[in-house]
Symmetry: C2
Subunit: 429 residues, 2 copies
Amino acid sequence: MSTQPHVVIVGGGFGGLSAARALRKAPVRVTLVDRRNFHLFQPLLYQVATGQLSPANIAAPLRAVVSKQKNTRVLLADVVGIDANTRRVLFSDGTLDYDVLVLATGARHHYFGKPEWEQLAPGLKTIEDATEIRRRILTTFERAERETDPDRIRSLLTFVIVGGGATGVEMAGAVAELARHTLRNDFRNIDPRKARIILLEGTDRVLPGFHPKLSAKAEKALAQLGAAVRTHALVTDIQPGLVMVNLGPKGAQKTEKLDAHTVLWAAGVQGSSLGKSLAESAGGQTDRVGRVVVQPDLTVPGHPELFVIGDLASCSGPDGKPLPGVAPVAMQQGRYVAQLIQMRLKGRPMPPFVYKNKGNMATIGRARAVAEVGWLRLNGYLAWLAWLFIHLMYIVGFQNRLLVLMQWAWSYVTRGRSSRLITEREATR
Amino acid sequence: MSTQPHVVIVGGGFGGLSAARALRKAPVRVTLVDRRNFHLFQPLLYQVATGQLSPANIAAPLRAVVSKQKNTRVLLADVVGIDANTRRVLFSDGTLDYDVLVLATGARHHYFGKPEWEQLAPGLKTIEDATEIRRRILTTFERAERETDPDRIRSLLTFVIVGGGATGVEMAGAVAELARHTLRNDFRNIDPRKARIILLEGTDRVLPGFHPKLSAKAEKALAQLGAAVRTHALVTDIQPGLVMVNLGPKGAQKTEKLDAHTVLWAAGVQGSSLGKSLAESAGGQTDRVGRVVVQPDLTVPGHPELFVIGDLASCSGPDGKPLPGVAPVAMQQGRYVAQLIQMRLKGRPMPPFVYKNKGNMATIGRARAVAEVGWLRLNGYLAWLAWLFIHLMYIVGFQNRLLVLMQWAWSYVTRGRSSRLITEREATR
């Protein structure tokens, strides 16, 4: 038992959990370390933020997921650093030796050198982010209901979402549906349908990773829901109740001031802080957003025992383009590393990691989505069904799948959202 | 419209919401005021605290509940006082005039003059209480897993629940099931089945409101689940990791020291603080636990326009005994007041309020419960089924009913609990 190599995986997201599960029959001891006691299905976090799902529906207790995997233990701990020379993971209250380390701690928001924007424009990465954004959105309608000044009401009912990637598009669609359908009969002084939802995107179209035709479809679907898209939009300042934007293509820019009580951030991510600690300790490099540059086999140069996967890894595809920070990349990398570890134990070589892109998809609200799978491009109802089944398939836990499906079916029929709780930021009782 | 009397209901719990709904066709304007934006089904709060249900499953957004009730508006506001002379409800940021006031703000914990115990032994009244208790219970197992000192492990795996009423019994059963079944395979260093669950009750038996035979059945069921009951137990001190108890009937008492990392409070409640403000302003009286003494028609003496219902009201049954602080009392009082208001408008009299006791029930875990309905006493599987259907029936929202039923069915079959999230106490982002 103790002579088996010790594989430590830091991070129980898509990458780390895939690696752990793929090692279940390997002759190694696995320790899965995470700060949190659950795996989070981040792609549906926006539905928690807009009251459609409960946090537990998109979370699976890590211990339950690997409870039958005898070679694996789970450790709830806060990793503060890596010592690559002594092969040790450093906790705030101890250390853990490893033979092989898989670092999969993901990414966090990136405010382009303006960390002070974070309080004003929260991003969506954790359960607490989601319940805080839900609290802000719902509280805003409540405040508008009690407000008498028309300008204040207009500002309270204006929602700005910064960043037109999949997260921003899904968030804008969900907020628009919440305002226009779910809440339509709930207030007596304000008309929630008059809420303005503005999606700001820096490039010339939303969903820049998709085919331009699908970007156009997404923009149209957003418009039908009542969410306005502004492309070539660069945020220059955020103040309480205020967003300053440079609008228009280069050479023809004008500055606009948006009075908006609620601003949400979906614009950029950077590698988690452990990446830097690892790079310093192991003599590796990080890219400009703090991700660790890895070799084709996902190791850190000079450290064959050190893997970095998922959003924390800076890794290029065969076309030289960096791989996107999405779940399928992380999962494939996790399984690749697990396989490589097992092949090494058998003394056999492994080809470099190659990402198999199975497609992109984004949903824009009830029965509206865009998807591309190879040369196939879908939009509307069919794309939405595809999106629905693929997301259901990848949620961990059979019970969660049923619960999510039921709540989606319910929302589809009634346009209701049952998880509209304003919980307190601090449970001080 | 504006000539119709204005009925203000403070509190959206069982009492307040029942009153509001029963007034839906009355020729009055109704304003339902609450600090929170949802109605909470408190009887199932212990299932949120033990990871079986999500907060949203037992909460219904107040606005959604009354959205189709045209004569009713919802106001999210913090009521800080009542001015009975000018007939005004006082908010932290304004006032609201009323013609009729229904005060239904419920109860909070009562630590018998030891408010410092609250931090060490939290009670279960709000969603935040439930997620905080869930956090404490789950974190305790995590700490035990990383601990090496056997005494510390023993203390970490000891759970003391103070108070053997329905809440305490249900909590003790749920914690025992969590430890012995749900978590049994989840840890590698500790055996969660060795957790000690101790239920302390001051009188000679648990569930003192029930028939003694059912108390005995409940105690036996708890023992089978691995929860120990100590009767004649009086808590004399609580310190971090420590509970001091006086045990045994009068004259034969001995003091015991319980090393327990987790202590939960289910022992006593007192009327919410508004009761006192009302009594002072209206010249009424409060009883020794701060509940407002009301007349047989639930009004405050000298103020026919002032009603107090639910846990905040001190009201006796025909036998002279005070009515218990349970949901059926509050709901019947809410409907009674709504009817009385309508009869008054027609100039017709109403008989005094009479509580129709339809029975008591408490569940002790999977397929175990006790129930009494009139002369009929049930225990075991049948009582549990009865408990299950009655609770499902009274949860507000058809979707919530389905979601709860599905999660119960799931837990019943697998003994799993999906909502085992340790969320952060303060969502600092």
